[in-house]
């Protein structure tokens, strides 16, 4: 019998898994995709918000403000880059200056420290590329940026090391309360018997809740599209730059990434399907228009990728967190849209408290390890460190991804680490190979060869992101036998 089964390997599921792994418990995490951080946690604004935006009294407001300061320690323990660079909400006219006042007031009510409204001169000094039409800005020094999938992977690796069983490629197809108490969670491979189920299924949390016979609520996917730019232009802004917010969204921002790029986005459009992460022409135009209001001179020739992510919006428009009143042992964590990433550490604390209330006994392990094995980020090493690393293992002397200077050693590490990479995207998220300006044009055949060799599979079986996304269709000459050639004139 398992103590806790977590459904969903996003940032919330993985952070809870890590938290529970410090206690003497048997914990399983099931994830339907071939890697953690494959849904909302891989495609969002990557901002740890200060917490002035959400309405006072909501879970969003409370957990954001509580969660933000917890990031320093989490990132230190896991060696995940986190930069507290601060954020600016920019007002372009008098009306928007009033909005800044409101936001500051709201922020103070929420308990956000050190908020300040700065004038135009100060703003232009801090952000020289910002529009000259700006009037003032709300400065929140506690806002930060992080890489959300690197964080999620680090959390999962740590959970793994501390004994959590992470089952990938395991969609939940049934949840039942068992007659003798406890619950059974069914995946295509097995039935997991557990005392508690934590539903952290993101966009699908409503379906998982319904499947278990627990509370009925609905999750609507709300799409946000992004454009990410070449690292050459990474210093176009120094902080997270927001426009003045509207009722439905914090607006289209211009934001640096911890890896030195910058992005613009997201817009905000409800969509019908929970897997509709397609980018649209109108969407791209919309975010370019939006971002230009803040930074008029965008290097649009140097976009390296566009992508879209989905917010899991609940019908209450707030986080839905709590033990089910209908199914004993079932705990919902639904509607985790923005500021879900910022709130995740506080959500985790809240869920642990709920588990205690529900009767789970938490005894600390004596051998809990808060960290994870070091990652050799070759690109960030100095020449002496590079020399030493290659001397220790010559495989770090071979650069596979030239845009991001990722070596073969790092790719092998990514495959062999706890919760190792099994696909091109998984390697990319762990090493940045393929994330640069050539977007894998040069390195993808080489990464595929390393994956095939390390995993002992045929190159034809190598996928981009799990089964059904195989990169290659066959060997040369193979189709001639089955297809035939049109004759040359």
């Amino acid at each position: 019998m398992i103590d806790v089964a977590i459904v969903g390997g996003g940032v919330v599921g993985c952070m809870i898994a890590r938290k529970l792994s410090r206690y003497q418990l048997k914990v399983v995490l099931v994830e339907k995709e071939d890697d953690v951080a494959s849904g909302t946690s891989k495609a969002n604004s990557a901002v740890i918000h200060a917490g002035y935006d959400a309405k006072p009294g909501t879970l969003k407001a409370k957990l954001n403000v509580q969660g933000n300061p917890l990031y320093d320690e989490i990132c230190r323990e896991l060696d995940v880059p986190f930069k507290r660079i601060g954020s600016l909400v920019v007002a372009l006219n008098e009306e928007e200056v009033n909005v800044l006042e409101e936001l500051m007031e709201r922020g103070k009510n929420n308990g956000v420290p050190n908020l300040e409204i700065i004038n135009r001169e100060k703003l232009l000094e801090m952000e020289p590329n910002i529009t000259s039409e700006s009037r003032a800005a709300l400065y929140a020094p506690t806002a930060g940026i992080i890489c959300p999938y690197e964080l999620t992977i680090a959390l999962a690796e740590n959970a793994c090391l501390n004994g959590v069983d992470i089952k990938l490629n395991s969609p939940v197809i049934g949840i039942r309360a068992e007659s003798g108490g406890g619950l059974s969670v069914e995946t295509p491979g097995e039935i997991i018997h557990t005392r508690y189920v934590i539903n952290a299924a993101g966009l699908f949390a409503d379906e998982i809740s319904r499947m278990a016979g627990a509370e009925d609520y609905s999750i609507t996917p709300r799409k946000g599209e992004y454009l990410i730019f070449d690292r050459r232009f990474g210093d176009i802004v120094n902080r997270v730059i927001f426009p003045s917010p509207t009722k439905i969204s914090k607006g289209i921002l211009v934001c640096p990434t911890v890896d030195g790029n910058f992005f613009i986005g997201p817009n905000s459009n409800d969509v019908r399907e929970k897997d509709d992460v397609s980018v649209t022409l109108q969407g791209i135009e919309e975010i370019v228009r939006g971002a230009r209001k803040l930074i008029p001179r965008l290097p649009l020739m140097h976009v390296i990728a566009s992508f879209a992510g989905l917010r899991a919006v609940s019908n209450t428009n707030d986080f839905v967190i709590g033990a089910s009143k209908k199914v004993r042992g079932f705990i919902n964590i639904g509607g985790i849209q923005s500021p879900g990433l910022s709130a995740a550490p506080a959500i985790t604390e809240m869920v642990v408290d709920i588990l205690k209330e529900e009767g789970l006994e938490l005894k600390e392990k004596s051998n809990y390890n808060p960290g994870r094995p070091q990652i050799n980020k070759f690109r960030l090493f100095n020449n002496e460190e590079k020399k030493e690393l290659i001397r220790r293992d010559p495989v770090y002397g071979r650069v596979v991804c030239r845009c991001e200077t990722v070596t073969e050693g790092e790719i092998i590490d990514a495959i062999r680490r706890p919760l190792g990479a099994r696909s091109l995207d998984a390697v990319k998220r762990r090493t940045r190979a393929g994330m640069g300006r050539c977007q894998g044009g040069f390195c993808s055949p080489r990464v595929m060869a390393i994956l095939a060799r390390e995993l002992g599979i045929d190159p034809l079986e190598v996928t981009k992101c799990g089964s059904g996304s195989e990169m290659l269709k066959g060997r040369t000459k193979e189709f001639i036998e089955t297809g035939g050639v049109k004759s040359a004139k």
Binding site: V279, A305, P445, G474, K477
Partner: protein, 425 residues
Amino acid sequence: MQNRELVIIGGGPAGLSAAVEARKLGIKDVLVIDRESEPGGILKQCIHTGFGLHIFNEELTGPEYAERFIEEAERLGVEIMLDTMVLELTADRRLVAINSREGLVEIKAKTVILAMGCRERTRGAINIPGFRPAGVFTAGTAQRFVNIEGYMPGRKIVILGSGDIGLIMARRLTLEGAEVQCVVEIMPYSNGLIRNVVQCLEDYDIPLLLKHTVVNIHGRKRVEGVTIAEVDDDMKPVMETARFVSCDTLLLSVGLIPENELSRMTNIEIDEVTGGPVVNQRLETSLPGIFACGNVLHVHDLVDYVTQEAVLAARGAALYLASGSKKYEHIPVVTGDNLRYVLPQRINVDAVLEGKVNFFMRSVRPMAKAELFIESEWGVIKSRTLRHVRPSEMISIQVSRDEMIGSEIIKFRLQEEGGRVEHGN
């Protein structure tokens, strides 16, 4: 720290040609550094013919063309350091490179020739909407899979962009039994050589859809199809014309970008139009002793021109080694009407080698007939009538030292004949 006479970064056609010429000119210590485990660069995967018509009067395949220079380089004692990536280059020509055998290598070079080639533009650069499934490749990556690795990237294929690699892959994949549905080109004309349009598309009945583009990519895990649409004169898709084309793969042949990350790191002056360094008649960059040739300088349509350019860079390096750095007074070379760029971007007429300069340029649009004017502040120096000018086909013209002497400026402009008359400014 190693001390070297000449270090060439890149062992493709430009780097190899420069190395061979440098040895012939008597430079004893020539080191070529290449990222790959074999020299030859992108030619290794270009198994089609058409290389060497100008240089050898023969139609060679890419590997054959490369092999001639590899053998020559070996015979002449050029040192080639393979599997080695240059991580740093400074203005005073210090290099940091790494490989698995020697680890981190530091080199001080008297002269450097940049020959890093180019890379392909990707989906991100042109913002194609839709999903991000497996099955979207650049044409060059697909070419590597097919010709070097022996794998097929897809069975039913749409190609976006009619650059030469895309056209050649249309034929190649067809010969391998794949179905190439169409080649989609946003411009009203092909961006490849005419001979490739004829030999790779027309001969195989592969439709070329001009003034069309891909407006959506379908498929969550693997490409299931694309939506294509006509574009109007502003290159905006006309959505009423949108139609779905079923395919499992989309190849992109949407342009090449000189690979100048290392040059930028060194703060070499870059021409934002060519994407390569600004050079003079010796192909010397803004940094003394650092030269550039081949696709790192500007994208070429024929490898033969790359070789010619590399020879010039090697001569520049040899002169530099013989006489040291000289402070040249340059006059600007100006790109006038109907031209996208002219190379070199500046010259010193007194220091012109062999009494003439080879100028390379590209037109901004196709013309049936045009007059190329070369002017100084005194008026027209030289003119030439050109037939069938196309942006995809580089124009080259030699101007002698005598023709340019005494000028403060050299300006090139193209005037369409029988069409609109455009006046120079």
